[in-house]
Amino acid sequence: MKEELFVSGRNIPNIDPYLHVWHWQIPLYLFLGGLAAGILFFASYYVVTDKEKQMPYTVKWAPIIAPFALVLGLGALFLDLKHQLYFWRLYTTVRITSPMSWGAWTLMLITPMSFIWVASYMKEMFPNWDWKFEILNKFEAWIIKVRVPFAWIMMALSIILGVYTGILLSAFNARPLWNTSILGPLFLTSGLSTGLATIIWISKDKNERKLLSRIDLILILVELFLIIHLFMGFLASSAVQTEAAALFLGGEFTVTFWVFVVILGLAFPATLEALELRGYHVPAWVPPFLILFGGLVFRFVMVEAGQITRFLY
């Protein structure tokens, strides 16, 4: 029998017996960040590719959600900080090696940009809108003029944001479950997919939805492929990673992950979307709802399970 125990009764809150430093705030933050990244990516992409007209909901309406998601996400992040009065320290330095740092800076840039983006469409969306102050009107005019370069920047930032939500975890070698380069693309894809789902949910334009559903289907397939890849990688890897994978293959996260994330969150909405594309009638909110829900659960599961996995020594 092999036995390992702390002789000195170590029992530090949130660290023993299992690490549980990050609670609901971080997965929520990652979810909202990914979602906003997805929305902003597609909004800017269709501006850059000059498809603004065909994609009105993608470009104008859906982005309204982005600033709220970002602010909410930042709020969650702030709540998670244990030394909140020193929050400003994030913005006195740039740490290239710290995803948390460039994530914070990306958010610092993309959050105001998302506001500006929405503001610049206010008059198009609500014809009676008036900014009251001349300076604001002037600013708006200028933004509209530089919208294409603005969109390029925002597109780049949204990709960084999306990747960041995955890299944040995968940068932690110490947690075998997160210690894989697939997590970055996986979170990016999932973020884009949840963003798309939101747009699809909002969109009232049939053609727009059709196009987006097609993209979403591809994204989901990519996601499923990455997940399979993830587990194949784990199983072919070191003992600690095999053990990490075991949490999902018979372990305590098996049902949550395979039922809620993979089946209900990916496979089932993908099937529905495919059916819809073939002309079957599916209630419009169902696939996006499932995708969003699956995406949220996915992040909770990854953050929780990842903290349980550790190096054995």
Binding site: M1, E3, L5, S8, G9, K82, H83, Q84, L85, Y86
Partner: protein, 754 residues
């Protein structure tokens, strides 16, 4: 006046407001902006060190109490010049500040009162009131029954002054659980052999030994500082360690040989070792010839005690018995068969200690480097006082004449016997003072202790904490901790004579007082002021120190002072110097004439001890390195390291009972006694399948110990069967057997809350 002494939980009186929850109200990070200093380590240069010696156990390591500029005690660090600790305290000594800071400490004197409806409670009292009550009771006792009807239990440094008071009062009944529950058999067994005892700190030269044999002595868990340090040094120097223990102790894990002996069969192993050493001609011939008496009788006695014979009893393979015997002999005389300390195991413990002593004699290790050295202490004169009155009776009157003649100290259990009235006794003990010992946890057979207490006219407890025993007291006096007081100088023997000073590093917290003040006050009230002719203890200490060429001022600066040895005889038999032993024959008595005269076996014999009945397991207990008995279990610093004990169970046994690691169970012993609290199971390969193991000192029943209450289980309450040592009255406590209860049993405790 006989009251049924209900157990009172000290509660109504003296609850400090709990500072819980305040922390969470603070804005996170805010206090840092204000006051950074609290969080950072104070630099030693900014603090004032006060000399002390540790009172968390009886090793008494000298150290320095560091006090910061705000007057907070920050840490206690060992004194570099002290041979007890060499600058390093053990975890309990380092965590000693937890005793000072404990919010659950006794805070005011308490007096037991009875409400009209008969319920009893403690009333907070002033010192004057409490001391008056005690003095009045002591005076009445003295007048009506004679001063010999008082008994004192005292353990620890402060007890010396209380003893002085009790001797001045006229009673010889001064006892501690450190004899009949601890060292007694060893001291009697070694004295019968060498004419001298082992002493404390033990005169074992572990530092220089080449072969250390530990028989159930679990150094490393038994954290007596000097011994653990020297054992580590010996390991470093390549010494061989042979550990005989039914449990895989920490010491066993660091040993070259571990002999997983069947419990209670050590005597067979010891006899077989003697057999091999004698019949393979491995003993120290010159030494044995020159110094010992009765070798031929011994040789004849162990003739049949072959390793093969012992194998059947001990389960230790004959080949291993031979190999280890040869290993000892090869190191001889720098070999040390350790006498152990807590040796009251099976009732034949004096004889087992004798066997250990004899083995050492055969190996020529007594008085030799790497064996037993010859310790010396500084003789500090007593402050002048009139001679003590001569007592007319003693606790021994409770026994037939001649019984316990070889007992060198007062038996704690003897005091209990002498307190319970019996027809052959014209007067039983009627008053107890209990200083610094938690009798409920340290005496076996709690029923008997409680029966004795119920026969008392009064019980005074002087303690620092609301320990179990305080609940039975009529008056509770809160002493301040060792960090807040002066005490007598430490003069324990060592390689070099040495003294150490303890002085306060802070004012006594709450309304607590030092023992010297308490005893002097009582003496004044009892008309014994002639025995306390000093104004305060500083005057007494300074007087004593000046007599030995030092002063209080000097000692305050250095803390520890060494004196040269009177003779250069640390290893007084190293070169076969002439020596007369303090025994009947003047020799090392392998064959004990003294025991023979008293009607006991002159040579140790193997006796068979009871074995657990079906479904029961032998209850084995011991120490955890981070706790001292029951006294530290509420100490926050040490509680952090270990906050409950667990019961060690072999995986096979666990499988049989379908008990899982970490599961809580209740233990029930052979007499049907069930532990008050459940205890966590540790399933481990480190324990045999015929016994279970737990650390002594947990399972406190008083809620006033907010941290320790209900944590773990108490071995003491399960030790109800005692095997008395016929030679010296030691209480063999290791033949109790327990079984597991997986469900909560019915509540079997009666308690009165106030």
């Amino acid at each position: 006046m006989k009251t049924r002494r209900d157990f009172i939980k000290i509660s109504a009186a003296g609850t400090g407001a709990a500072a819980i929850g305040l922390h969470s109200l603070k804005l996170r990070g805010f206090s840092l902006l204000g006051d950074e200093n609290e969080q950072t380590p104070a630099s030693d240069e900014e603090m004032t060190p006060y000399p002390t010696y540790c009172e968390v156990c009886f090793w008494k390591c000298a150290g320095w109490t560091y006090v910061d500029k705000k007057g907070n005690i920050r840490k206690v660090i060992g004194n570099e010049n002290d041979p007890h600790c060499n600058g390093r305290l053990c975890p309990r000594g380092t965590g000693g500040i937890g005793m000072y800071y404990d919010e659950d400490r006794l805070k005011h004197p308490l007096i037991r009162e009875t409400k009209p409806d008969g319920t009893q409670y403690f009333r907070k009292a002033s010192w004057d009131e409490a001391l008056d009550v005690i003095a009045e009771k002591m005076d009445k006792l003295r007048k009506e029954h004679g001063p010999e009807c008082l008994a004192l239990f005292s353990h620890g440094t402060g007890g010396k002054l209380v003893s002085h008071l009790v001797k001045a009062y006229g009673s010889p009944n001064i006892s501690a659980p450190s004899f009949a529950q601890c060292r007694g058999p060893r001291e009697v067994g070694f004295t019968a052999t060498f004419g001298e005892d082992v002493m404390s700190p033990e005169r074992t030269d572990i530092r220089d030994t080449k072969c250390l044999v530990l028989i159930g002595s679990h150094i490393g868990e038994n954290m007596h500082n000097g011994q653990i340090q020297e054992m580590s040094a010996a390991l470093e120097n390549g010494a061989t360690i042979i550990t005989v223990d039914p449990r895989f102790s920490t010491a066993a894990s660091h040993s070259k040989y571990w002999l997983p002996i069947k419990p209670a069969t050590d005597m067979a192993l010891l006899l077989a070792w003697m057999h091999v050493i004698i019949y393979e001609n491995l003993y120290d011939k010159e030494y044995v010839e020159k110094y010992t008496f009765g070798f031929d009788e011994l040789k004849e006695h162990v003739k049949n005690k072959t390793p093969e014979w012992a194998y059947g009893l001990t389960t230790i393979e004959p080949e291993i018995i031979r190999r280890t015997a040869r290993e000892m002999a090869a190191a001889s005389p720098r070999v040390l068969v350790h006498p152990g300390r807590h040796v009251t195991w099976y009732g034949d413990d004096t004889q087992r200690s004798r066997a250990i002593a004899i083995l050492n004699a055969l190996l020529g290790s007594w008085g030799r480097r790497g064996g037993f050295y010859n310790p010396e202490s500084v003789h500090v004169p007593n402050y002048p006082h009139p001679p003590y009155p001569k007592p007319k009776r003693s606790w021994k009157d409770a026994y037939p004449p001649g019984k316990y003649k070889l007992v060198s100290e007062v038996l704690s259990t003897g005091i209990c016997d002498a307190t319970i009235p019996n027809p052959d006794l014209d007067c039983h003990l009627r008053g107890w003072i209990v200083y610094g010992t938690n009798l409920m946890a340290s005496l076996p057979d709690q029923k008997k202790t409680i029966a004795a207490i119920n026969n008392l006219d009064f019980l005074v407890v002087i303690d620092t904490m609301p320990m179990d025993i305080t609940g039975y007291a009529d008056v509770v006096l809160p002493e301040c901790t060792y960090l807040e007081r002066y005490d007598f100088l430490r003069t324990s023997p060592h390689r070099e004579p040495v003294i150490a000073l303890r002085m306060p590093a802070a004012k006594p917290k709450y309304d607590s007082k030092p023992n010297w003040w308490i005893t002097k006050q009582l003496a004044n009230r009892l008309g014994l002021q002639d025995y306390f002719q000093w104004e305060n203890i500083e005057e007494l200490l300074d007087w004593q120190l000046k007599k030995i060429g030092s002063s209080l001022d000097e000692m305050k600066r250095v803390g520890v002072k060494k004196y040269p040895r009177e003779y250069d005889d640390l290893y007084n038999l190293e070169n076969l110097e002439d020596f007369e032993f303090n025994t009947n024959t003047g020799k090392i008595e392998l064959y004990s004439t003294e025991l023979e005269m008293e009607g006991f076996d002159p040579l140790p014999n193997y006796t068979r001890h009871p074995e657990p009945p079906e479904g029961y397991y032998r209850l084995n207990y011991g120490r955890a390195p981070m706790h001292t008995f029951s006294r530290t279990s509420n100490n926050h610093n040490l509680w952090d390291l270990m906050n409950e004990n667990s019961v060690w169970v072999n995986p096979k046994v666990a499988d049989l009972w379908e008990i899982k690691n970490g599961q809580y169970v209740w233990l029930k012993n052979q007499d049907g006694i069930v532990s008050s609290f459940p205890i966590k199971v540790r399933v481990t390969e480190r324990i045999r399948w015929d016994s279970v193991y737990m650390v002594h000192g947990f399972g406190h029943t008083d809620k006033k110990l907010r941290r320790a209450y209900g944590r773990g289980a108490s071995d003491s309450e399960l030790v109800s069967k005692v095997y008395l040592d016929p030679v010296m009255g030691g209480t063999g406590m290791r033949s109790n057997f327990v079984t597991f209860l997986k469900e909560k049993p019915g509540n079997n405790r009666e308690e009165v809350e106030s």
